[in-house]
Every structure is written in C-alpha cells, then in structure tokens.
Symmetry: C2
Subunit: 698 residues, 2 copies
C-alpha cells in the first residue's frame, strides 16, 4: 500500500544521497564528464558566494530585477548544496543556510505578488505561482543537501517560517492548480511532495501522490495515468514534452529514494520510462526536437530536462548503453548518484549509438486520439527520417497542421516546419513573447507541408473546433524494404476527407530510400487544393517553365497566412512526370510530381505584410496547387541523390534515377501509381481500407 507513516530521515536523499557521497567525490576525480559537470556547478557556486546574498522584496514581473534575482537564488542554493557535498567545504552550506534564513525572515510577511494577474493564481515570490513551485522544487533539494550542516535551531526556523508556510500556500491558495491534471499541477504537487519527504510531513506527501482529497482522483499518480499516452507521448508536442517531463522525473526520483516500495518507475506500465524514451525518439539525429506546434527550433536533447531524464533513466530505470550516447552529446551529467553511473560507464567505453527507431506514438491518454508517425532509415550519421503529424490539437500551443509532413536527411531539415514565431527572451522583439505572426503565420495551415483547401486554415484556425477531433491512423508498418505511415483527417474542413500516406521505400541500386508521399482531398464539392512543401536549399532544376516575378512582387493572399507569402512564380504543369530538384548541403533532392494538366506550381517566399520584420524571410516553398476539383490526389516521389564536393570541385549523381511517375487509378478505396527507377518499373497500390494489404508493390 501507499500509506505513509513518516520517513527514515537521512540527508541528502534525493539526487545525491548520503550513501553515495564518497563515490561521487571519487568519481569527480576519475570520470571526465562528472568532473567537467561538477566544475561548472562549483563555478556557479563560487560566483554566487562572491556576489553575496540578495533576497529582495518581490516586486517585478518576468524579466525584472526581483524576478531574476529570486530565480538566481534557487540556482545558487542548489549549486552550493552540491558543492558542499562534493567538497565538504562548509562555506557552501553556510551560504544556503544564510539565504534560507533571509527568506524565512520575510516570507510570511510577503503578500501575494504585486504583479499578479486577475486570471492567474499569483505566487508570493513571483508574479505567477508556477515560478514559486519551480523555486521550491530546487530549493528543497538545496536544503536537503546542506540539512546536516545547519544547526537544529536554524532548521526549525527555516522549516517553520518558510517551508511550512509554502506548503500551506501551495495546498490552499493554489489548491486549484494543485489538483489540476496539468503540467502546472505537476510542479505544484512535486514541490509539496518533495518538501513533505525532506521535512518529514507524510500528510503532504500523501496529498501530492493522491490529490488534496487523498482519494486518487488527482495527484501525481493520477497525472501519470492521464497526462501521457500509453506510448509516453505528451499531447502538446515534443518541445513541451521536454519541459513537462522535468517535475515528473525529479519527484519520481524523490519518491524512489524515500518509498522504493511504491516502485514508482514501474507505475502505469512504466509510463515515465516510456515518456523519457518518447522524448528522445521525438528528435532527429542532430538532437533537435521535431518542431511541431509552438516550438523553438534550436531546442535539442542537450537541454537540462533531458540531462535529468537520461541520467535517471540510465541509473534508476534501465541501463541501456545507447542512452550513454545521448549523455555524451549532452556533454554533461547531473552531479548526482545517477550522473556518477553515467559518467563512469561512458569513461568505461560502454556507450553505443542511440537506437533511433521507426515508431507510431499514439496521442491521448487511451492512445486513441491519433499520434505521431516517425519513419527512419540509415545510420545516425546519415539518417533519413520523416514525421507525419496525425496527433490531436495539443491545446493552445497547437498548430493547424493536420497530416503535416517533415523530412530530415543528411543531418538536417529538408521539408521543414517554421516552428513558432518568437524570439525567446529577446526583449526588443515583442518582449520575448510570441509575436503577432505566431498566430497570423506560424499556426496557419499554409505554413505547413499539408493540404490547404480554399486558402483557409484547418478548423478555421479555431482552437475550440480543432480540439473536438483528431486524425485516425490508417496504417503503420516498418519493414526493412518498405515503411509506411498513413492517416486520415475528416473534420479539418467541412465535407472534405483528407488522407496522407507517406512511405520510405528501399529500391535496389539506390543509396537512399525514396520518399513516396500521397496526399488526397476527397469531397462532394469543388475546392482549391494547395499542397505546400517548405524546403531548405536552392532549386537548381525544374521540368516546367517558371514565370518569375522580376519586379512588383505581390502577396499571394489576404489571410490565413497567405498574406505573408510573396508569389515569386506561378506555372502550369503539363507533363506526366514533372520534377523540381533542390540542392541542400551538398546533396540533391528531386521531387517527382504526378501532375495532370490543370495543376499549378507556385513558388513562394516568406515576408509579405510583415511590418515589424518579425518573419524569417529566407523561408521558401513550392506549392502544388489544383485550382478547382472535388477530389484531388497529389503523388510525389522524392529521390535523395548525388553530392557536390567543394573540396574536390566535383559533382556526382546530379541526375535523378526516377522517371515516368504516373497515377494509374484513384478512387475512394485505392490509389495506384507507377514510376521507373533506372528504367525498372514499379507499380504501387494503396488499399486504404485493407490494413492487411495496405501497400502492394508490383
């Protein structure tokens, strides 16, 4: 059972534990990665001591002086706590003690934060309570680390005048958040539960695990049950999953140390382990998270959250040698029991390349609300990877990009996603917040590589509508020769069924898999169907005559993102097999297009109607466009081929080996198309309604 009586009080007992201190000290001397990681922590601690203690009365909002100082304070305390345990130097413990006493002397007298907003629960230290939760998650670790070096009287002061009032505030004033099945709730209850363990208040631990009513309807266990899909996917997307994981990992580790009998890492089919694994599988080989929804594109698995995740997954869950590969690329470990294990095994040469795999990651806590399809081919050093986004909306940060397709190769993006329109923390750009263009551009459907009907966005760009529905998986299969992901979305547009089938196909005689992509819009009425491909690189060849606008460049449309597109060229396709060749990072990509006479290609660049120059104007797309049709099927076969060698000044394999792409049949249940590779003919049949024989190759 989970009944809590009180805990065997020993300190420290969270990330760094009493029994392991000696080993960690030796490890710092012996293992390069632990040493460099500790040196960074110690420098941070030394800088903090050099600067002195500053605990100002809370006053400023995000980015302001008191906000940044209190943020700095928990980081400094945590660094000093670790430095104390590793060096044994009491000055570090004294710094934490003195700072905590300063907080204890004032905390109760502080009112709710003066910068509070009417629609949010404020903190006392920060303008929103979330920041107070985070503060406490780190501060209680610092306290645990120096606990035994603080005189009993001071401990009583700190616990009575700081931590107990905090527990009270979080479980009363913040009760609504505490009981919320939501990431903010995770931080809140983690702070409460960790504090309960460290200062021995079993009642608070119980609330953290089972909700304020202790009935299990909310609380940590309920969150583990509900916030991840059975495959470990978090609905807001990879960028948010990374962040959402952190309090789960930290609190779970704390539970594991204090109540190992709960077997928290095995709870709910080892859901935390799955979530850590999923977050790694949601990256390309360069470590970058797939930037679907509002995402900063430069975010990689090097971020601190994944350092925690990987170290604890390796040390506390399952010691998979390929996690060490990620840890090596993270270039640091936690200075902790787990970090010691990781650094030691890396030093012993145990790392193996991270095992990326093709996967369907379902969305929804029952796994029945669509998901993300990932297909991969080739070694980590040169991997082809496609992502098909068939997940649900993913709350307020979701983009209107149902059945969006991303293609990665050669270490980077080929068919790319804009991510969010935001200069994070750049004050001069809209205060570092989301730019207006995040809504007018980044979230709109045309900003993505998916079907747009009538130049309008999916679900009219309305969150409420979009949250009601999710795509359905039609097929996921990954064999050596052929990998396929297929999904359907029936509600993005009234009366239009959207289907996308994306395939990695290994053809004898070609170095790289063909990317075959079939996108359909099926309707009873006529529509304009656009299929954009946002690409990285430079077009070096195309089969059709371009009509490039050489002056007086105009915006393509008026709204739903089209107002931000410059229309650079518009052409009618007339051949049976058209193509566009792109050169990117010394490699060629030829997109073969099965076109009929009425199809157009529009070449666009980004940047129209952008008065504040917020958009990245280097973004480029070709849009396959059918002006008017009830049903439209776009078939493309993308060959990845050849290379240019700037050192040797040679170019090889510049010509595509694919030819004669043609749609032979297309109806409600089937698409049949054919092409040749080096003259050998291939015929593919997609049987949309036959899972057992979904793709047929002749």
């Amino acid at each position: 059972g989970t009944a809590v009586q009180g805990f065997a009080q020993q300190h420290p007992n969270i990330m760094l534990t009493k029994a392991n201190i000696a080993a960690v000290r030796q490890g710092v001397a012996k293992y390069p990665l632990l040493r460099s990681s500790f040196n960074e922590v110690k420098q941070q601690a030394d800088r903090a001591i050099a600067k002195g203690i500053d605990v100002p009365v809370p006053k400023d909002g995000a980015g302001g002086y008191t906000h940044e100082q209190h943020k700095q304070n928990y980081q400094s305390m945590n660094a000093c706590g670790i430095a104390y345990q590793v060096t044994g130097d009491k000055k570090y413990a004294a710094f934490v003690k003195d700072m905590l006493l300063k907080y204890a002397a004032q905390y109760e007298s502080w009112p709710q934060h003066p910068k509070k907003k009417s629609n949010q629960i404020p903190g006392k230290i920060f303008w929103q309570c979330l920041n107070d939760f985070v503060w406490q998650v780190y501060t209680i670790q610092a306290y645990d680390l120096v606990h035994d070096a603080i005189p009993a009287g001071d401990r009583a002061t700190i616990e009575q005048h700081l931590f107990m009032p905090i527990l009270h505030y979080f479980t009363n004033e913040c009760k609504e958040t505490f009981d919320l099945i939501h990431n903010h709730g995770t931080w809140c209850l983690s702070a409460v539960g960790m504090t309960g363990y460290v200062i021995n208040k079993p009642d608070y631990v119980q609330m953290a695990l089972k909700g304020s009513a202790k009935d299990g309807k909310t609380g940590f266990l309920a969150q583990l049950d509900q916030l991840f899909s059975p495959d470990g996917y978090y609905t807001e997307g990879p960028y948010y999953q990374r962040y959402a994981m952190l309090p789960f990992v930290i609190f779970a580790k704390t539970i594991q140390q204090n109540q190992p009998q709960l077997q928290i890492f095995k709870y709910h089919n080892s859901i935390l382990s799955k979530a850590i694994d999923a977050s790694l599988q949601l990256t390309y080989t360069n470590g970058a998270f797939f930037p679907v929804n509002d995402a900063m594109k430069d975010k990689t698995f090097q971020s601190e959250e994944l350092v925690y995740g990987v170290d604890i997954a390796y040390a506390d869950i399952k010691s998979q040698a390929d996690l060490l590969d990620v840890a090596k690329q993270q270039k640091r470990v936690m200075v902790s029991d787990a970090g010691l294990r990781v650094a030691k095994d890396i030093a012993a040469g145990k790392a193996k390349p991270f095992q990326y795999r093709s996967a369907w990651l379902s969305d929804g806590n029952k796994g029945d609300e669509g998901g993300l399809g990932i297909l991969r081919s080739g070694p980590n050093t040169d991997q082809q990877c496609i992502l098909l986004k068939a997940a649900s909306q993913g709350m307020g940060h979701g983009h209107f990009d149902r059945l969006n397709l991303l293609y990665y190769d050669n270490g980077g993006e080929i068919f790319s996603d804009y991510g969010s329109a935001r200069f994070l923390n750049i004050e001069s750009k809209f205060g570092g917040d989301y730019l207006p263009e995040n809504k007018t551009w980044a979230k709109q459907t045309v900003a993505h590589n998916t079907l747009v009907a009538d130049e309008t966005s999916h679900y009219g760009g309305e969150l409420k509508n979009a949250e009601k529905y999710h795509p359905e998986l039609l097929k996921f299969a990954a064999s050596e020769q052929l990998q396929v992901i297929s999904a359907e979305e029936d509600h993005a547009y009234d009366g239009i069924k959207m289907q996308r089938t994306s395939i990695l196909f290994k053809v004898p005689g070609l170095d790289k898999d063909l990317l075959i992509d079939v996108v359909r819009g099926l309707s009873g009425k006529d529509h304009q169907y656009d299929l954009p491909f946002w690409y990285q690189g430079h077009i070096t060849d195309q089969s059709f005559k371009t009509n490039v606008v050489t002056n007086n460049l105009k915006a393509l449309g008026k709204k739903d993102g089209y107002q931000h597109l410059w229309l650079n060229s518009q052409s009618n396709l007339h051949n049976g097999d058209d193509h566009i060749t792109i050169l990117n990072n010394l490699r060629f990509y030829t997109i073969h297009i099965a076109a009929d006479s009425a199809m157009q290609v529009k070449l666009v660049t980004l940047g129209a109607n952008d008065p504040n120059m917020d958009l990245r104007t280097e973004e480029k797309a070709f849009i396959l466009s059918k002006p008017k049709a009830a049903n439209q099927t776009f078939v493309t076969v993308t060959e990845t081929h050849g290379r240019t060698d700037p050192t040797g000044e040679t170019t090889t394999g510049a010509a595509s080996n694919v030819s004669d792409l043609k749609v032979l049949k297309d109806d409600e249940t089937q698409t049949i198309f054919a092409f040749r590779v080096k003259q050998k003919a291939y015929k593919l049949t997609i049987n949309y309604t036959n899972k057992n024989n979904f793709i047929q190759i002749n």
Copy 2:
C-alpha cells in the same frame, strides 16, 4: 650555378623517394592520419584496376566522356603508383605500365584536340592545353613511382613515343604559354621540368627553369620573381592563390629532390614559403578562404592544393608546429615523405593551434599595388577578424569592390561577401559556369560592403579602367589594444577620393573588441553616397522607425546591381546616435551609426530581376545612404555582445554598452568622433596625413 649536366637517376624521387619507402610503409602501419590517407589512395587504385584500362581517342570537351576519362586516368595512375610503392604489389605497377603503353601507342597519331577553340592553344588529350599540362604533371609522377618495375624496353617505348613527343608539344606548339608569366605557364613548365628530371633530359629542365631561350627572362625562376607579391600574395585573390600555388609547390619539390644545391625553397627571399603562409593567413578560423573576387564560398584550406602546401611547408621548409593543426583539420596527408613527417608528428602530439595573425599582405610583385589588410583578435576558437580589401583589380575575376570590408566572428561571417554567382559543376545551372548574375550582381560594387557613388559601380564596372589603378595603404598597425588598417582609393570614381579606416579596439570592460569603421567620400561635387552592409543574421532592434513595404515590393534600381535589390524599407535617420542590432548564431551585433539629419537607411534583400532564380535570396543588407553631398563620412561602431542560450533559454548582454556616438570634426586631414562605453567617454582622432600619430585616443 644552375648548369644542368644530367641527374643521378634514381626512382622514385619526387614526393615519395626511394630512401624513404621503408619508413613510409612503417608509417602507414603506425600513424593514423597516414594510414587513413593511404587507405583512400589504395581504394582509388583498386577501383581503377577493377574498372580496367580505357584510353579513348580524344573527342569531347569539358565534362564529356573522353575528357573525364583522361582526367580519371592520370588520377588512377598516380594512385596505383603510390599503391605499388607502399604495398610492393606489382599489379599496381603493371596497371600504370599498361596504360602508359596504350597512350604511347596512340599519342603521336592524335591531332590537336577536335574541340579546340580559336582563341586558345589546344591540347592533344584535352580541348585546352592547360589540361594536358596538368595531366603530365601527375602522369610523370606515376611513371617515376613505377619506373623500376617497368622493363627497359617498355620504358624506351613510353619515353620515346609519349613523353618526348609531349615535351616537344609543350615547348613548341605551346611555346607561347610555356614562356608566359602566368599560372598556365607554371603548369606548362612544371610538366616539362619534372619530365626532364625523371627521364633525364637536362636541357628541358634548363628551359623550365629559365624559359625557352634559357635566358632567365621567363621560366620558373622568373615566375617566382614576378607572380607573387613580396608578402606572398597572388593578385587574383585567395581562392585563386590556392589553385595557383599547386604547380609551384610540386615542381619546387621536384627541383629540391634533384638539385638541392639550387635551394629553391629559399629562392627570392623564400617566396614559396611566404606564399604558402599567405594562403593560410587568407582564411578565417573555420578554414574558409576570404571570398573576395570570383570565389566559391565553401572552399577551405582542406582542399588538396593546401594539403600539398602544408605538408611540404612542414617537411621541406620549416617544421612549424602550428602547421600540424591545419593538417589535422585537413584530415589527410600526402602519402609521401612529407606526409609521413606530418602524420608522425601529429601522432606524437606536436600540433599547436595555427598562428593566425594580423597582417598587411601587399599586392603587386614589388609590393606597391595596395594589398589586403587583416586584423584579428581572440583565440582561434572565437576570433574576431576583419578584412579590408585594398588590393589591385586581380585580373578578369576581380570584383569592383575597392575598400570592401568583411567582418568575421564566432566562427562565421557577420558582414559578408556574396562570392561568385555560380553553381560549380551543377550542369542545370548554366552548365556549371559563371551565371549571368556574376556580372550583373556579384561583381558590382553594391554587392559589397563599400562606398557606392550615384548607384554606379567602381570604374564603371570596366576591367580595363580598374586595372590601371590600385588603392594606397595609409596605415597598418596592430598593437594589443588597438589595431588599424586604413587605405585610400582615388580613381574608382572621377573626382571622388575614397578613404576607409577600420579598427579593432579593445575596451576595458568589454569581452570583445569594438569594430570601428570610418568611410569617407570626398569630392568637389555632390553625389549620392551609399554604404551597404551585407550581414548575416536577423535584425532584432533598431533605433529608427522602419517603413516596411508590406506589398508590391519593388526593385531599388535599374542597373549596376541595384536592379537585383528589393527595397524592403527606407527611413530617415534623425538621432545623433542611431543603431541596428543583429542577432546571429546566438550572439548580438549592434552597429552604432553617427548620422546627421539627411542620412537614410535602406533595408534590402536580394532577388529582384532574377528570372532564372540564380541568386541566393536569403542575402540581406542595410544601406546607409546620403542622398546628396560633396563630402560624406560614415562612422560606425559595431559592438559584439551578449548571447542567447537556447538550451537554458536565457539571454544575457542583449543591450549594447556603447552610446552617444558623434562626429565632432571632419575635414581633409582629420576625422574626430566620440562615443561612450558604459558611460566612459572615448574620443578618437584619425590623422590621415600623419602616419606616426594616425590614431589618437582621448
């Protein structure tokens, strides 16, 4: 004396020499870099043998089948020659022998190449004789390598029916080129001289060294006297210097092996050594050559020419430990005596960081035709570097970019150069040749970071005019606190004197040097003065109100490159101290501008009037523009500051520490300006006519 009697005949005796074969064999087993380099050569040799011998009758022009096959043949023979010496396996020698016999059986019967052009001397194997020279430079090395494994009778056949006719052709039909003080001449005489040494024809060696008349007016020594400046700079620019060096290095090494008494590496104040050093100093820390003139921007010191240069400089000229750093980055060595030395010393850990330095590299063979000024600050891992181009025109590949300024930092370009407009070897892009936009855009002045008068290019964009004049150096000095390069150009425009003074200034309290740049146009008449800054990154802040064109984007001008610019915004500057902040690769660059009320800022992007989509549309500039003035001085102070950390999601140092930039006085002989750094005032005086007190700081 240099009288040649005949040479002690031993083989091989060029890159790989008989006395060193055993050591190289052991080295391949012992030293990783030599091993991997040899493995590549051996694979090439094995592939050649697997494919078999093909010596077709010459027929096709560049890129065609016979052209590519004959190119392949000399590479295959050279690889087999090396493979024979290292492995001792006679099949490699037999391949070379058999192929040479095939050539010997046909060469005399081949007429001049059928694809010859009226204005060029043809080869017999290739459409232009240059390719024949290159063929022979490599082929004679292959012959030397397998010489002792070829029966005497076959050797006689090869020498009598291939090499002697080649010597005859190169010194008779190609006599004009042979005696030319020009890069083609270097290849021609190197082929002749090397062949003379290997088959013991001293007369031809003498001609190679002293010209066909053997009077020293032409030939290799005269070329060494005339083709490089005293500082080792080659007038066409870094990209061409790299290529031009190769026959010099190969032939010099051959001379050194056969006539060490000539001390060829010490000839003309060790000019070859200076040229190799200069070519390395003409790179940024990422290895990229400064892309002035027609240059492919991805060319680095990893190219084969510099592998030869670095290995021979280290082994035969001076064993500077920092050359090993370059060799490491090249990731390969020659499989030769020199490569052995380099690989061995790298394996012994002797490499030191390459010693980049600030330098004035004079142009012209007397060093009095301007030059390139390079200022550097900081370690190779994070170096600030500026290049001021004050060299002469540099022949037909020169750009009209007098006093162009490039700025590098943080591993890449900040103020950048377009390089040439060309997709090298990409058949679909104008046959891989220079694009029409190379002339209409890349060569034009506005494509560069330098002064443009009246929207016209320097020297009217006419090579003949531009070749008559060169800029003059006003000052070069590089102390720890302040480095300066200043130059003047009086003939780019009739009646306008152009001056530019660029400074790296180390200010206490700032992490990075300030880049201070003063550009002046002085004239008796009114002109429009434009000063473009082509930058990498995204503008995140500016002091002035932009007027962004949100639709109907128009070209800025009609000709001289202006027709290719989209005018995105135009603003009047009104403050004393205006600025633009750019975020690039996680770092900020704030350009402070001393503006008076009549100055404008135009924001432009590239891509107008580009019907074939040849241009890189991601290029962006801000142009400081004075609509009408007789004299105009542009003063900018660029601060490199702060960083954003996407992993930690923090931004520091986003605000510039520089303020109050103001021009206090500006006349014929002086510019005086002032600014503050963190409130501390600085006043700088440029005394244009006083070299001894050129910059004064108060």
